[in-house]
Symmetry: C2
């Protein structure tokens, strides 16, 4: 265990006890990405764990507030090559977060990449944008926006609708930390709500459900080291109080590392 704030935040006792970490604070409670990584970590550190993450769905059922919580991770079915988990996070006698995770043993097979990484300038040629300072967690990432940077909310200005809700950025943990499936999980939630960008104004919004599919194993993730990865996210449809948010995370070598899909509540 390092003293990196990421590892501190996702740490759990053998009984599953953890606590929110001030370095990952959101407006209310912690950043959803660190909660997702904490739930995955409960399976990751479990003595019965088989293989590595393949798919994770995290559902934000109720508000998680600053303080202690307990995570219960249960392997409900293990086959020769896959393992299925049901994971719940409890706080104050209530379930605040649910998850299912699939772990699997990867092996060499026929392989083909169909989706190609978008053509963007390399990270070194893109300026770092400081976190906007409204909440703490963005300071845990170094962000270099290629398209669709942080929306600067001007309270007196009228909303300025954008043509799309797309964001593309080079991103890495701050301070740097070698990439693994846990950090990748949190990264998939590090895109600010697409409705901020699309409507050009602050809109109350919160993730209800996030699914991450992991396309790369531990070896490929370790090879990425602490270099920035390319994240791309956009919404597909905004309607009746909810929108979706699709994201891909690419290695700097153009390898698709993860794809993610969210359903997000909004009030507008």
């Amino acid at each position: 265990m390092t003293h990196h704030p990421f590892d501190e935040a996702i740490a759990l006792s053998a009984a599953g006890d953890g606590a929110t970490h001030p370095a990952w604070a959101n407006m209310v409670g912690p950043f959803g990405g660190i909660t997702a990584a904490t739930l995955l970590n409960a399976a990751w550190v479990h003595p019965q764990r088989l293989g590595e993450p393949l798919a994770l769905t995290v559902n934000y059922a109720g508000a998680l507030v600053d303080g202690a919580f307990r995570v219960d991770a249960r392997p409900v079915r293990t086959t020769r090559t896959t393992q299925h988990w049901i994971i719940t996070l409890h706080q104050g006698g209530e379930v605040t977060t649910t998850a299912t995770a699939v772990f699997a043993i990867r092996r060499d097979t026929w392989a083909s990449a169909e989706l190609v990484a978008p053509a963007v300038p390399p990270a070194a040629e893109v300026a770092v944008t400081p976190a906007p300072g409204r909440v703490v967690w963005p300071e845990r990432y170094e962000m270099r926006f290629v398209h669709g940077p942080w929306v600067r909310f001007a309270p007196t200005a009228a909303p300025a609708l954008a043509d799309d809700s797309l964001t593309a950025l080079w991103i890495r943990d701050e301070p740097p930390r070698p990439l693994d499936a846990l950090a990748l999980t949190a990264l998939c939630d590090a895109f600010y709500p697409r409705i901020f960008r699309r409507r050009g104004t602050f809109t109350p919004a919160g993730t209800v459900s996030m699914t991450v599919h992991f396309h790369a194993g531990a070896t490929a993730l370790a090879a990425q080291g602490t270099r920035p990865v390319l994240g791309v996210a956009r919404g597909q449809r905004f309607a009746q109080g909810f929108f979706d948010q699709h994201a891909e995370v690419w290695s700097d070598g153009g390898e698709l590392l993860a794809s993610s899909q969210q359903s997000v509540y909004f009030k507008a």
Copy 2:
């Protein structure tokens, strides 16, 4: 309750008892889409259910074989506008399938469609392709392929790699049945494994996890009636024994009804 084979297949007793239905048979056990719809139905018919489906993740943990099973659906957290479920399907003393579902109350808000439906000929101008007859469940759909039809396996021919794994088709239940979230769930799994198309040959494959995000409420789905919807699916990356499968389902009026993401095992 109608006598439609879809409703027969997803039917559950008050205690959650159900059984596989021969009209939905796959190579081994039932079509995964009908299993997903059955798990969602367990929450749908539950006396404590609030709202309508927003997000569903179904994990295929172990083989479900023909015969009886029991579904346990538990609402673990209900707020004013959302409800979170953990659902498990048991057979022979083992968990074969797990799911989480989020139900929500939709309401009128600001709305915007960012993703646009692909330009394809209307259903009436596209010929119906008969099911290939290898398994039963495709006979439960009328399929009109615009792109990437069923792969006709020629056992003696060498694999013919395709440039992409894309399929686009007009599809409806056969016999016709008015669209709802349950039927839409099954539809999201009605695309044959993308690796069949990409490699041009039969490849052992099975869905490990499927997530469906519902973009349209009951009123919009009911308005679609029994007319075909447009389904589009493709794989993004095939590697180390797994590939993903992204899909969208559109109304014939160009409204995004659902988007879906799968992680699929393969052997090649």
